[in-house]
Point group: D2
Chain length 125, copies 4
């Protein structure tokens, strides 16, 4: 979805399915490098999906010359994941002129495994 | 600090300096693979430090046979990072029998770049 | 909705419309006592709706002899309110045996003015 | 500390001890009207202290003609309170030109009962 290189996305295997009209979908297939000592996917992977997905969703609503940055995100975990793949659906809840609010839901197959609520600042480059 | 393999920590280069008495310190050196398309360290790296650091700090207070899991974490960003290294100091704010509250501060050199406040559940294995 | 006295709800004028099957709706009419120095409804009023609404929604899913308590709530504000009334719709996102995740949306008429994501602990009395 | 009327503060009995140099202290004595059906102080009271305290602390750092508004606050509860009084200490963690990060600790006597981490937007009136 982006012409810009994204090294961290490449490192964890994160790719975008879509980003348009204030929404985005991105995913990470589970692989052994993403596990923590308990054998479950590290919480930072779901977080990376939420943070990347929020940026991707918000960019679709920005004007030329505007950029955005994460102010803060809260993520809550509903279930642990050992295999399969994580898919993250994000939408802009509200975009103001300087602050936007976004939410993400992370699924493994049909199971909701994490939910995030975040805010971004919007600024002119 | 741990005898258990931690593949995700290895993937991003996260290591622990210390974990004792309800506190921990862990770090990640900045390298190109950790950057986002803006050329700054992806927010998930500071998050990974907070989440890992909270787990590391809380484990030092658990009884034999107890385990813990992240309920939720909020992280707020104060400054972006392009180079150097991230160091995360974490402490247990309060440990109950079933829920613990922790906070982390992430620094690049002397600069506070992120702050996190999280909760963990504690359970018998 | 409750046979138990709730002094703080009475103080701010909070009443429940419904609480069943893991959802609740509660409301507060705006009146001068609820305003802050800017002439807008104090943020703690929307917060009180979210916190009370979450408790009300979760109680509908508890077994006899179980109780619950707020672990933490994050609330984000989308718009300020000067008059009218606040209505809060809450639902349980997931109820585990010991922790539940809930979300609330606070409206003034058709306008979403705040959104909250919280966690509760569940325990036997 | 303020020459402006604050009806909601009056309603719950909130007063400021101090507000200067990016910090503030405010308090609420416990009285029966602040209790929830469990007989403990409603969580919205500690929240009101944090939100009010953050506004009070941030205003001490604003320029003439600037105002601020809560973006979001997360509050976590460490202990319930049945009697005595709540005192809230707040400090600005970082003030940027458009966003500030603040944290509050709420005590009952020597006991830390809640902790909050929030963000505010800063704008010219």
């Amino acid at each position: 979805m982006s012409e810009h290189p994204h090294p961290f996305a490449d490192l964890i295997g994160l790719t975008f399915d879509s980003a348009e009209s204030g929404s985005s979908q991105c995913r990470v297939p589970v692989r052994p490098e993403l596990l923590n000592p308990h054998g479950v996917v590290h919480g930072a992977v779901a977080y990376a999906l939420a943070d990347s997905g929020m940026g991707g969703a918000l960019y679709t609503l920005l004007e030329k010359g505007e950029s955005c940055a994460t102010i803060e995100i809260k993520i809550v975990y509903l279930s642990s994941v050992r295999e399969g793949g994580l898919v993250c659906n994000t939408r802009v809840v509200r975009k103001g002129s300087r602050v936007a609010v976004l939410e993400s839901e992370v699924f493994e197959a049909d199971r909701l495994v994490a939910k995030a609520l975040g805010t971004y600042s919007i600024h002119s480059r």
